[in-house]
């Protein structure tokens, strides 16, 4: 018995021996359960990691009372959130109010479905790909789904009947729309280099021609910044902005519904980190070797590549927290100008540069291996120096005072001087 969907799933990798329906179903269910458990457990542990890392950065110890070294703290937090009172503010849109936390949580999990996390695992019933759904359009699917996360936040802000929540929701919608474009544009060079939109193919191509962080450094940088913005993490946490908006979109939420937003934030972080790993850090590839990418596959290869993927993922998760406890929040105009005036043109120009470089290297007959990676690296070093040492002079993010010309400054000063009230004028 076979499925039409199964053939579609296998279209990405025609070398796969056909897996029959029942083993496929059972293995899929097992993978589903494992990935879901991984998401929930890591969301719980990440709350602890965040508190620990914030504490260490601030020369504190962090939670260390519950369990050994505070390891049971997520359990205590979860228990607390379960027994707290559920509050429903008056005049809320009850249905949307309830559905919003779920909506913010789901896209993270759905996106996680297409991310390959290890080399195929051979079993006696056929090869099991370590990915939930190896969609032929995996990459486009991610672009389509990743933006759905904004609905949860906007609807939460809208349905709360609270001006702060609404402002948080509005900000998040503006922010996500702005950064999604730069995010999509920054991934086009990845697709160009891989020549395929399947995530499995992108991982394989990186194993052969060098990781994309080497060949596409600027795209990685743009994607990372956009990913930070999409997950609403500092310095892009304007939807929450506890200093000005109470707690932003989840001001009115309590107990488990609030907790769900919290879990959603960390699940989104996991997904974004997994995406960065897959698109730019070679996914589950073990660096400098090819033996893990080619047949014959074995269980130990799967385990090792799984470990490699997990290490890369953890690095990005740590980076998220590291950045959070280093940087202050952007001002709204800084956020907008960074997204529209810097990242978007930069990513567009980068597509042109990469396309030109690929044409040139192909014309020169450079094979797609380490020679290709080295030439791309040389190009990227030049670009990175140009961008971060020459362009980054108060232009990437405008400093505390907005950029202002000498003539404009003079005009403002005379205006301010003229309109300054003297005591006599106030007396009138």
């Amino acid at each position: 018995m076979s499925l039409p969907a199964l053939t579609l799933l296998q279209a990405a990798n025609p070398q796969l021996p056909p897996v029959h329906f029942w083993p496929w179903l059972i293995f899929s269910l097992i993978k589903l359960l494992l990935v879901f458990t991984f998401y929930m457990v890591s969301a719980a542990l990440l709350t602890l990691a965040e508190r620990k890392i914030s504490a260490w950065i601030q020369d504190r110890h962090g939670p260390n009372r519950v369990g050994p070294g505070g390891l049971m703290q997520p359990l205590a937090d979860g228990l607390k959130n379960f027994v707290k009172e559920e509050t429903f503010p008056n005049f809320t849109n009850r249905a949307l109010f309830i559905i919003a936390p779920m909506l913010s949580f789901m896209p993270a999990l759905i996106t996680g479905a297409v991310i390959p996390f290890g080399a195929p695992w051979p079993t006696r019933w056929g090869r099991v790909d370590l990915v939930l759904a190896d969609l032929p359009v995996g990459f486009l699917y991610i672009l389509a789904i990743a933006s759905l996360g904004v609905y949860g936040i906007v609807l939460a802000g809208w349905s709360s009947n609270n001006k702060y929540a609404l402002l948080g929701g509005l900000r998040s919608s503006a922010q996500m729309i702005s950064y999604e474009i730069a995010m999509g544009m920054s991934t086009i060079p990845v697709v160009m280099l891989a020549g395929n939109v399947t995530l499995g193919a992108i991982v394989l191509s990186q194993a052969h021609q060098g990781w994309n962080i080497v060949t596409l450094t600027l795209a990685f940088f743009i994607f990372m910044v956009a990913a930070f913005a999409e997950t609403n993490r500092v310095p892009f946490d304007l939807p929450e902005a506890e200093a000005e908006l109470v707690a932003g979109y989840h001001s009115e939420y309590s107990a488990m519904k609030f907790s769900f937003f919290f879990i959603a934030e960390y699940a989104n972080m996991v997904t974004a980190s997994a995406l960065m790993t897959t698109l730019f850090l070679g996914g589950w590839d073990i660096p400098f070797t090819l033996w893990d990418n080619v047949a014959p596959f074995a269980w130990y290869k799967s385990v090792l590549t799984l470990l490699a993927f997990f290490i890369k993922l953890s690095f990005f998760l740590f980076l998220y927290m590291w950045i959070r406890w280093t940087l202050p929040r952007f001002r709204y105009d800084q956020l907008m100008s960074l997204g529209w005036k810097v990242l978007l043109p930069m990513s567009l120009a980068y597509i042109m540069v990469i396309a030109g470089a690929m044409l040139g290297l192909n014309a020169l007959g450079v094979p797609r291996d380490w020679r290709f990676a080295l030439s791309m690296l040389a190009l990227n070093v030049v670009i990175v120096v140009l961008v971060f040492w020459v362009l980054d002079r108060g232009r990437i993010v405008s400093p505390a005072s907005s950029r202002i010309g000498a003539r404009e400054l003079e005009r403002l000063r005379t205006m301010a001087h003229r309109s300054t009230l003297t005591p006599r004028e106030t007396g009138d």
Binding site: I53, W56, I57, Q58, D59, R60, H61, W322, I323, W325, T326, L327, F388, W389, D392, R393, G394, I396, V397, P399, A400, S401, R403, I404, L409, L412, R413, M415, A416, S419, T420, L421
Partner: protein
């Protein structure tokens, strides 16, 4: 245009975001790896108290277990917070003693005047700060409770020179 807005000139050409961010991250990483943490693990570790610390009161007793207080009435008189309640009594030999001696620790401002004014060195403020009760009434310490306190008394009072001579 708002009135009198101060427009600062900043060296735009020298500012950066990415490089400054990297510098900041290096700093936070240094703190992250720094094993010297400033937290005091409170119930196990305690910060040393100042020698001038004035905490909850204590009534000293004579060798035969009676309060040293002679109910002279100086402490309720001097108390600026009016938190000491004293009802004096007199026994057959004509010795005065307190029938009721209560200190409302909630009203007390811990100025230490009672300790300073006491001619018999009976009432003292102590080097103690961990107080908790289930009711507000629990913070009205009566004579028995004041006598039962065992914590050290304020070091401004020197036990070897009790009358400050």
């Amino acid at each position: 245009m708002a009135i009198g807005v101060k427009v600062l000139e900043r060296p735009i050409e020298q500012t950066s975001y990415v490089r400054a961010t990297l510098k900041g991250m290096a700093l936070t990483l240094k703190h992250l790896l720094n094993t010297h943490k400033v937290t005091v693990q409170y119930p196990e570790q305690k910060w040393p108290l100042s020698p001038r610390w004035r905490g909850t009161h204590r009534m000293l007793t004579t060798e035969d277990g009676k309060a040293k207080c002679v109910a002279c009435g100086l402490c309720p008189t001097v108390c600026p917070a009016n938190c000491i309640k004293l009802v004096p009594g007199e026994d057959e030999q004509g010795n005065r003693y307190p029938l009721i001696f209560e200190i409302d620790e909630f009203r007390c401002i811990f100025c230490g005047y009672c300790q300073e004014v006491c001619p018999e060195e009976a009432i003292h403020v102590g080097r103690h700060y961990e107080n908790s009760e289930y009711s507000r009434e629990g913070f009205v310490y009566d004579l028995e409770r004041l006598m039962a306190q065992t914590h050290p008394v304020c070091e401004m009072w020197d036990p070897s020179d009790p009358k400050g001579q």
